[in-house]
């Protein structure tokens, strides 16, 4: 089976500083992969490059065997939904307006909403449990509600690939777990999910596969337990990682 996303020698640098360096790998359909790494390792930058929202990166990324910068923006957005790092909303758009944006790649600038679009919006809001907030001004939402609204926008896009930059930010532990189970459900339905995450314990418990980034390089990838148990992970984070006999990970200062 050809992978959904094929990444070939992706690099990005600003003024001689390499933020991404020679990253080559692939992402299979229906996988759910966590991107982990210390602060500044390039997690966000990688997701921006893969979603073609970064400019000036080198290398190639193929989505469905076509280079992502050769797709038109709407065509790409129908196949790939990218959630940028969390940021508050400054304009008082209604929650439903925000979720509706997920249908823009299907509608262009003018075409009115069809019933198909309304269904996609409705089911995305139901899935993220924000239907009761649909008329609320997005600037008055809590961080968690807003993050779920953004995610509903991504779901409404109906794309098979989701690139989520720190989707758990702003959520309390209950909503984090709820979101993870939604993402796992989406992966079971065949969506491919690449998500970056800070919290190694959550990653250890919920990610199946992981990519480890260290100073812009992809130094280790594979099943999460193998990645966390690797020498590269200890080097990247500068800590000791041990797995106790009950399977839980313990993290100690190096």
């Amino acid at each position: 089976m050809t992978p959904l996303l094929q990444i070939v020698q992706v690099g990005y640098s600003i003024r001689d500083k390499n933020l991404l360096e020679d990253i080559s790998t692939s992402l299979g359909s229906g996988s759910m992969t966590a991107v982990i790494g210390p602060n500044g390792a390039g997690k966000s930058t990688l997701l921006k490059a893969l979603s073609a929202t970064l400019h000036g990166w080198t290398g190639k990324v193929f989505l469905e065997a076509k280079e992502i910068r050769r797709w038109t923006k709407p065509d790409l957005a129908r196949r790939l939904a990218y959630l940028p790092q969390f940021r508050p909303v400054t304009v008082p758009l209604a929650v439903e307006d925000l979720v509706t944006m997920g249908r823009f790649p299907h509608l262009g600038a003018w075409r009115p909403l069809r019933s198909l679009d309304r269904e996609a919006i409705q089911s995305a809001m139901e899935r993220m449990e924000i239907t009761h907030l649909r008329h609320r001004d997005a600037t008055t939402l809590s961080g968690g509600e807003l993050q779920r609204t953004y995610l509903a926008r991504c779901l409404a896009q109906g794309s098979s690939l989701l690139l989520l930059d720190e989707p758990l930010t702003g959520l309390d532990i209950g909503h984090q777990l709820a979101l993870l189970s939604i993402l796992e459900g989406l992966a079971r339905e065949g969506k491919t999910i690449l998500w970056s995450v800070h919290d190694l314990r959550l990653a250890a418990e919920h990610a199946r596969d992981a990519w480890l980034l260290d100073r812009g390089r992809l130094t280790c990838q594979g099943p999460i337990d193998e990645v966390l148990g690797s020498r590269e992970a200890e080097v990247a984070f500068g800590i000791r990682m041990n797995r106790s006999c009950d399977g839980a990970w313990r993290f100690g200062q190096g």
């Binding site: 921006k48 979603s51 073609a52 929202t53 400019h55 000036g56 038109t72 923006k73 709407p74 065509d75 790409l76 957005a77 129908r78 939904a81 990218y82 959630l83 940028p84 940021r87 909303v89 400054t90 304009v91 008082p92 758009l93 209604a94 307006d97 925000l98 944006m101 997920g102 823009f104 790649p105 509608l107 600038a109 003018w110 001004d137 953004y150 926008r153 896009q157």
Partner: protein
């Protein structure tokens, strides 16, 4: 909520009609109505006053208000900044400079020359802005904003220079024009402004979805398939059309573009497909009312631009304080 548009339309029609009554010769409601119905007849009759003096003036003011408010709403979405205003990016001051240069060098040019120059100036300013910000790579929002601010002060200095170099007669003319006003505006001005105002409005409303997406940030917009750079260009063109039309017939009238969208958002929300038309109506209403008030209650010669600034500055400061409190 659904009644917002009918209310605004009714209020606007009312304000336009009231504005027909006010002036140096008083008309009663009945005589104004009769004059309106009678159509344009002799210059010194009631219908002459209504059709050749007051109606064109009122329409010019309404068009200017609509244009400034619409472009203000579009800019605030594009820059994700509630303080954004058509005058911010130097587009209005570019138009003002061009008009001043024409007044300065060709003081006896025909009546339509000045508006056309102002219009060309606005377009040139927008073009310079786009060219400069695209020089050496893809512009970020901050680069566009800062370049606009710098251009704006450059154009303003140019205007000041022209003022310093002009003789007494020119100076009076220039200062009068720069204060922004609607004295003695004729149908010529209406025909100059109307097509551009309508075109600018259509351009901006047609990309209402793009504006909404851009108001979340470029990365969000791009991830829902908006061609961000093209969208920014389209907004600049639409705004240059609107602002160009406004500056060309009324001089630089400030703060309408800043205030009106703010007043409308609590009413119709921030979605551009509703905010832009509501702002256009409310902008027209606000400026026609301001012009009416100035003519009836305030000393003669208080220019429209001066009045909007007098009202707009306190509003702007209030907004600034409120926004800061919200950000803390």
């Amino acid at each position: 909520m659904k009644r917002v548009f009918p209310i605004l339309v009714l209020a606007l029609v009312g304000a336009v009609f009231a504005s027909l009554l006010a002036g140096s010769s008083d008309l009663t409601v009945a005589s104004a109505l009769k004059a309106l119905v009678a159509g344009p007849q002799g210059v010194l009759t009631d219908s002459g006053i209504v059709w050749f003096v007051r109606l064109p003036r009122t329409l010019v003011v309404a068009l200017v208000g609509a244009a400034l408010a619409t472009s203000g709403a579009a800019f605030q979405a594009l820059f994700r900044n509630p303080m954004a205003d058509p005058s911010l990016l130097g587009i209005a001051s570019g138009g003002a400079l061009a008009a001043v240069l024409v007044l300065f060098h060709f003081p006896s040019s025909p009546i339509w020359m000045l508006p056309l120059a102002a219009f060309a100036g606005c377009f040139a300013a927008a073009a310079i802005l786009v060219a400069l910000t695209h020089f050496g790579g893809r512009p970020t929002m901050t680069v566009t904003l800062l370049t606009g601010v710098v251009l704006s002060s450059l154009f303003t200095s140019g205007t000041s220079l022209a003022l310093l170099l002009s003789n007494e007669y020119q100076l009076r003319q220039l200062v009068f024009w720069l204060a922004g006003g609607a004295e003695a505006r004729s149908w010529t001005h209406v025909w100059i402004a109307a097509p551009a105002v309508v075109a600018g409005f259509v351009v901006l409303v047609s990309i209402a979805r793009w504006l909404d997406a851009l108001s979340l940030g470029e990365d969000h917009a791009e991830s829902v398939g908006v061609p961000v750079e093209r969208a920014r260009g389209v907004v600049l063109v639409g705004a240059a059309l609107s602002v160009g039309a406004a500056v060309s017939v009324c001089g630089p009238v400030g703060f309408v573009g800043l205030i009106v969208p703010h007043l409308m958002r609590p009413w119709v929300g921030a979605a551009s497909r509703r905010l832009l038309p509501a702002s256009a109506l409310a902008g027209a209403l606000l400026l026609v009312s301001a012009d009416f008030i100035a003519r009836v209650f305030l000393p003669a010669g208080l220019q429209l631009g001066v009045l909007t600034s007098l009202l707009g500055v306190p509003f702007f400061l209030w907004l600034l304080i409120r926004e800061r409190r919200r950000m803390l």
